[in-house]
């Protein structure tokens, strides 16, 4: 009987970091991806800071397929203390993401979060550069939303395989300068998004990046090569396979200057120079 207990079993919504969220909207984006909006229990949305992630149970509780949760960054947040929502950008890879991407409004999902550290925008930083690769665009879209709210100016660089897997421009506030690169040159610069970075290193006070490891590595090389001194500071959000999401299993570690550190608690955001690739 417990095997078929609802996900809600013993989860006083809102208290603690495990809660049930109801799907309120679903729409396609970036080709095969899905934007899934979830109603959050009172008090959760305001706490959710850019770069933090949630660990999602991508199955009903009676099944074990897949067994473990899947981490997702918030793409956008409505911080209303009562009617707050969170929007996830989901690219279908395997079992978990396919399950999550196909949830319909009204369905309820078991979520843990907010988890991990977040992107820190320094008081005196005025100009922020975002460098996004693929679904790595998610936490940076959220950060952009926040940065504009507190009056910063943002340049948003995005790279993708083809034009139709780029984030649609209208998904970003109009004040944002949006520059893109595609592998096939079907839109914007033909090549890597990191090729665009040098032009903005003078301009930017801070750089924030998220994407596949190869992209982050090439970014770190660009920085080593072209950055003058220690400015701009560069923070990257890394992606590692996770189990617990709270620092309990040590399965998601990253080798840094300070030794092995968990990407779920000490990360996922790290100063680029601290990571041992």
């Amino acid at each position: 009987m417990t095997a078929t207990a609802p996900d809600t079993a013993n989860l006083p919504a809102g208290t603690g970091r495990e809660f049930i969220a109801e799907v309120t909207a679903s729409e396609p984006e970036m080709g095969d991806c899905t934007l899934l909006t979830l109603a959050l229990p009172a008090g959760v949305a305001p706490r959710l800071r850019p770069g933090e992630f949630v660990n999602v149970l991508c199955r009903d509780s009676a099944s074990f397929d897949p067994l473990l949760r899947r981490p997702y960054s918030a793409f956008a947040v409505n911080p209303d203390p009562v009617a707050g929502t969170m929007t996830l950008l989901i690219r279908p890879f395997g079992r978990g993401s396919q399950w999550l991407a196909t949830r319909q409004p009204g369905e309820r999902i078991d979520i843990m979060g907010p988890l991990g550290n977040h992107f820190e925008v320094a008081e005196r930083s005025e100009r922020l550069l975002m460098v996004a690769g693929g679904v790595g665009v998610a936490p940076l879209a959220h950060l952009t939303q926040e940065a504009l709210r507190i009056g910063k100016s943002v340049t948003f660089l995005m790279g993708a395989a083809t034009a139709d897997t780029l984030l649609a421009a209208q998904r970003l506030p109009s004040e944002v300068e949006y520059v893109v690169a595609t592998d096939d040159g079907s839109r914007g610069h033909r090549g890597f998004v990191t090729d665009l970075v040098p032009d903005y290193l003078q301009w930017a006070d801070q750089v924030f990046a998220c994407g596949p490891d190869p992209m982050l590595r090439s970014l770190s090389n660009v920085i080593k090569r072209d950055r003058v001194g220690r400015r701009p500071t560069v923070h990257v959000s890394v992606e590692r396979t996770m189990a617990c999401g709270v620092g309990a299993c040590l399965g998601c570690v990253l080798e840094t200057r300070h030794g092995m550190q968990t990407s779920c608690v000490t990360g996922p955001v790290f100063p680029v120079e601290e990571i041992r690739w």
Binding site: T2, A9, L57, C249, L250
Partner: protein, 338 residues
């Protein structure tokens, strides 16, 4: 309100009394802090810390975990700060907690186990030890302690001789006859046994044509291994006179009931916490309600319910001095026979 309390060291004057029989398993619950804010950890009967070694370890390279059908593989490599830093860092916090904290220790020699036990013997905040004998004995060509009855007895006796703390010896599923190992560690002075540790497995990334885990092999846990764990619990509970702690793939009350009925006095939950921490801490409450519905006034009424002849007689409580004494004998016995 059935009586859910259990003493995992009935033979030991220092006792190890739990308010309920649901324990967080080693390596899946960090050092007790990590799940705070997610769940109320004090709804647990106890928790077991991540495995500690004498010296600090940075663990294995990544990837360290991957999923399999109904389970997961892990090769963390015992990343931990080492016993000394560990003692400074965590027990002082646990000391203020109502929930007993059990320390899981992993050594590569009998001496290492004994040394850690000695250091932990009177550390406030440490309620008991779980001795992980699923480790290679570097003095026996990397042959796992838990695969050999004599080596298992020797380690237990050495730990017993080094501390009066309640000792739970955690058995390896790799042994040919786990019941024989259980009897050996009971002789060695264990207050209880826990089982099972992970099975050794491997997953191959067919795109990269190499193992998914950087370490090659890893430990298999989760529901996939539950039938093996229940069987071994059943085999061990039939023969030993000390409490048995069952674990392996418990994701719900019904899973836990299998272990209780197979003879476990308590259960541990590991991988289950990664998936549904809220449900794991609720198991004790569900158990309480289930026992009421069954008309049972205490958990003891169902422990071993599926054993043909029920549980063997419990070992009697032993005089403090005898504790170290008896183990002393075994320690000698071993040194002569090896």
């Amino acid at each position: 309100m059935a009586d859910l309390s259990v003493d995992l060291a009935p033979g030991n004057p220092r006792e190890l009394v739990l308010s309920n029989p649901v324990i967080a398993a080693s390596g899946c619950f960090g050092y007790g802090q990590e799940y705070q804010g997610t769940i109320d950890i004090h709804r647990l009967g106890a928790f077991v810390s991540k495995g500690i070694t004498p010296e600090p370890r940075s663990g294995n390279p990544m990837p360290r975990i991957t999923e399999t059908t109904g389970g997961m593989l892990n090769a963390i490599g015992l990343q931990n700060p080492g016993i000394r830093k560990f003692i400074r860092s965590y027990p002082p916090i646990w000391e203020r907690w109502p929930t007993p904290a059990i320390v899981n220790i992993s050594g590569e020699t009998v001496a290492e186990f004994a040394e850690m036990a000695r250091l932990l013997d009177d550390v406030p905040g440490v309620a008991g030890l779980e001795v992980n004998i699923s480790c290679p004995n570097i003095n026996a060509g990397g042959f796992c302690f838990g695969w050999d009855a004599d080596m298992s007895r020797e380690v237990t006796a050495a730990v017993r001789a080094a501390t009066t703390l309640p000792i739970i010896v955690k058995l390896s599923p790799g042994a040919l006859d786990v019941a024989q190992i259980a009897l050996a560690v009971e002789e060695g002075g264990a207050d209880a046994v826990s089982l099972i540790n992970t099975l050794v497995g491997m997953k191959i990334d067919t795109r990269r044509r190499k193992p998914v885990l950087a370490n090659g092999t890893g430990g298999l846990s989760g529901p996939a291994i539950r039938p093996v764990a229940v069987r071994m619990t059943w085999q061990v509970a039939r023969v030993v006179g000390i409490p048995v702690v069952g674990l392996g793939g418990i994701m719900s009350l019904d899973d836990g009931l299998e272990f209780f009925m197979a003879g476990a006095s308590a259960i541990q939950v590991g991988t289950g916490f990664f998936a549904q921490p809220g449900r794991m801490v609720a198991i004790a409450d569900e158990l309480d309600a289930w026992l009421d519905a069954q008309g049972c006034s205490s958990l003891g009424e169902i422990v071993g319910a599926a054993l043909p002849d029920g549980l063997p007689p419990r070992r009697q409580r032993i005089d403090p001095d005898d504790l170290k004494l008896m183990s002393g004998d075994y320690a000698e016995a071993r040194t002569t026979t090896t």
